[in-house]
């Protein structure tokens, strides 16, 4: 009975993770500049892969597999923000500016 429940939970986690991954991809295609795209990719993408790893940990009966899935999840959650930060910093130093609609210019009226 508890195995059935874990399987249902894992099904929800797998589907949720895939939906988060798809949302990250849609954000990457549709958002207007690099910094917004990084925002979608680094947060939604990491949550998507992390939820799927949680599902693997939920259905496995082997302790080593649970440990490996948890370690993968922790590594993913630690490394993705670092990579996104480095990439945003490098792109900003390379002269990539945010699009003009993200700044407010109230004196001239034109953004």
């Amino acid at each position: 009975m508890i195995g059935q429940l874990l399987q249902y939970l894992a099904a929800v986690a797998v589907l949720g993770g895939a939906v988060f991954g798809l949302l990250a991809a849609i954000g990457i295609v549709r958002l207007p500049d690099l910094y917004m795209r990084l925002h979608a990719a680094s947060k939604a993408g990491a949550v998507g892969a992390g939820l799927i790893l949680i599902a693997v940990a939920l259905i496995s009966t082997d302790g080593a597999v649970v440990l490996r899935a948890t370690l993968g999840l922790i590594f993913l959650l630690l490394s993705t923000p670092v990579a996104a930060h480095l990439l945003a910093r490098a792109a900003y130093k390379a002269g990539e500016l945010p699009i003009v609609t993200t700044t407010i210019e109230e004196i001239d009226g034109q953004p």
Binding site: A18, G45, I52, L53, V65, A69, G72, A84, L87
Partner: protein, 98 residues
């Protein structure tokens, strides 16, 4: 009451389809992305989605050996993103010194 394994198999199949669609969308950005930064980001997202895809395959097939491959891909993806970001930064610094 539907069998849990049946639901799980269906969910894993749907997840694999959704993740493949997501990887196709990211490939659009990889081909189109105006600058180098966009392409590095697209590659990074591709590796993250590949980790998710391998996890979904693990759930679908029950072969937990795939999990090691997922962890290795996560490591390589992080290192390659850091290396490419350093490359982008080094290119800028080299341009300034000239």
């Amino acid at each position: 009451m539907i069998d849990g394994a049946e639901v799980l198999r269906w969910a894993a199949d749907a997840a694999i389809a959704l993740l493949l669609l997501a990887m196709l969308l990211v490939l659009v950005r990889l081909a189109r992305g105006p600058n180098l930064g966009d392409r590095i980001m697209a590659l990074d997202t591709l590796t993250t989605l590949a980790v998710g895809l391998i996890g979904a395959l693990t759930v679908r097939t029950g072969l937990t050996l795939y999990l090691d491959i997922a962890i290795a891909i996560a490591l390589v993806g992080f290192l390659s993103t850091v290396a490419l970001a350093r490359y982008l930064l080094a290119r800028v610094l080299k341009g300034e010194s000239q």
